[in-house]
Amino acid sequence: MEIAIEFLQLAIVMFASPLLVGLIRKAKARLQARRGAPVFQLYADIRKLLSKETVVSENTSWLFRFTPYLLATTMMLSALIVPVLSTRTTLGFMGNIIALIYLFLLGTFFLALVGLDAGSAFGGMGASREVAIAALAEPTVLIAIFGIALRAGTTSLDGMITRFAAEPLLMLNTGHLLAFFAFFIVALAENGRLPVDNPTTHLELTMIHEAMILEYSGRYLALVEWAAGMKLFLFLTLLSNLFFPWGVALDNTPVALVIALVALAIKLVVFVGAIALLETSVAKLRLFRVPELLAGSFTIALLAVVTAFFLR
């Protein structure tokens, strides 16, 4: 039973993540009074890319061919750890949030290496920017996590959700909300969303994530795009289930699982709306102002830890 749920969670993350990306694009398009591509566009894109020829530069090493598989694998592994529906799963015992963050960062690290690998100017530029942002974002992620882990008394994802699910007035808890905002800003930065990176353009001066994957084509590109979608899905699931754990199944009855699925869908739709609204209303920050934004989120995270110490 628990193994079945584990695979169900994996399947949800694998097959629903392109839909999530499509929904964000659609919502953004509607807010900007465009009709927008259909929500299932990314599935079609991936299928198209899978049937296309893959062109690999002669100058690249094994890293170039290895990284797309690594990205997809780390994301699928993370999908087994993150409590998408239920807190009681077989691999739950290794669901340590610090391990999870470093799984995400492993993908970032290899993607930055690949940006350098092909030796193109854009790749190197994208890699250096990505590393600069990751270096600023990582301490914030960890400190925000400590902020909530201190309150929960554990760094296990399942333990934290179980602990917070017992608190109905979570929304009014300041340390929790501060950690949420810090984590949210960092999630935007890590997933290459506005105001840090624009996911929709290949404008040479501003792109970060797109610059690193510029050399990819065919099935490698499909894997990279899909992994990016899964990463966004996992980050948003983590945000919604960790900070607003209402509805997450605490035991494995079918009813609880259905409720968890519906609750997750609702929470994700809210996040989709929030991100679409945010990306429509703010402009991309100048690259030199990104550290200020991340310093701001670092401040918020640090305050969350301070309050976790002093305010109960």
Partner: protein, 219 residues
């Protein structure tokens, strides 16, 4: 409304107020900074009305209304007028860069927590938990005053400092009597008006409102 919910709401709103103080550092444009101050004053007014409802205090309600009139409507308008007249809308010109200033703010907040937590825990009121936040607001307001070169942004630091003191009094004792609060509001209003005149004079004499110029000897 139970004491527990009140305590949490007060905590939350005090945090919003503190966050708006910190936003003053992140905002580059003066209009945005003035808006942050107006918003913070509105949060404080909301907070005092909330506590007024909890304690059935008509006086505190009056304080909230007066707060809206003086600090949400009148003072921002005066400041915006000054900004428009001097015409330096985008320069805050701090001595420290944004990131170091934010780190200083966190350090000040930690000091505030360290100093005020024992005092707050000896206070029996349900609002006392948020006292360290109000004190942090006072310290950060001070810091903004010291950190800024332009006279107008120093005024904003002063106003944030004053808001912090008001919040501290509100949380510690459910606010001081209405008449005292009125006196303080009028003082602040007059202070802002005088400072505005000062700013104009500095501007006339030095062609800039950089207070660093005041330290230089003139022929």
């Amino acid at each position: 409304m139970s004491a527990e919910i009140l305590s949490k709401l007060v905590n939350l709103l005090s945090f919003v107020a503190l966050g708006l103080t910190i936003l003053l550092i992140l905002r580059a444009r003066l209009e945005g900074q003035v808006r942050a101050f107006a918003l913070q004053s509105f949060v404080l007014a909301f907070l005092s009305v909330l506590i007024a409802i909890y304690t059935d205090s008509f006086q505190l309600f009056g304080v909230g209304v007066a707060l809206v009139i003086v600090k949400v409507v009148v003072i921002p308008r005066v400041l915006n007028r000054a900004v428009a007249k001097i015409g330096i809308s985008r320069v805050a010109a701090p001595y420290l860069g944004t990131a170091p200033a934010l780190i200083v703010c966190v350090l000040l907040a930690i000091i505030a927590f360290y100093v005020m937590t024992p005092i707050a825990s000896s206070n029996p009121l349900p609002t006392a938990d948020a006292m360290p936040l109000a004190f942090a607001g006072v310290l950060i307001g001070f810091f903004i005053m010291v950190d800024r070169r332009r006279a107008v942004t120093q005024i904003l630091g002063f106003l944030m400092l004053e808001n912090g003191i008001f919040l501290l009094a509100l949380l510690m004792t459910y606010g001081v009597p209405f008449i005292v609060e009125m006196g303080v509001f009028l003082d602040v209003l007059v202070a802002v008006l005088i400072m505005e005149v000062f700013v104009y004079h500095i501007k006339d004499n030095f062609d800039s409102i950089d207070v660093g110029e005041l330290g230089k000897l003139k022929e």
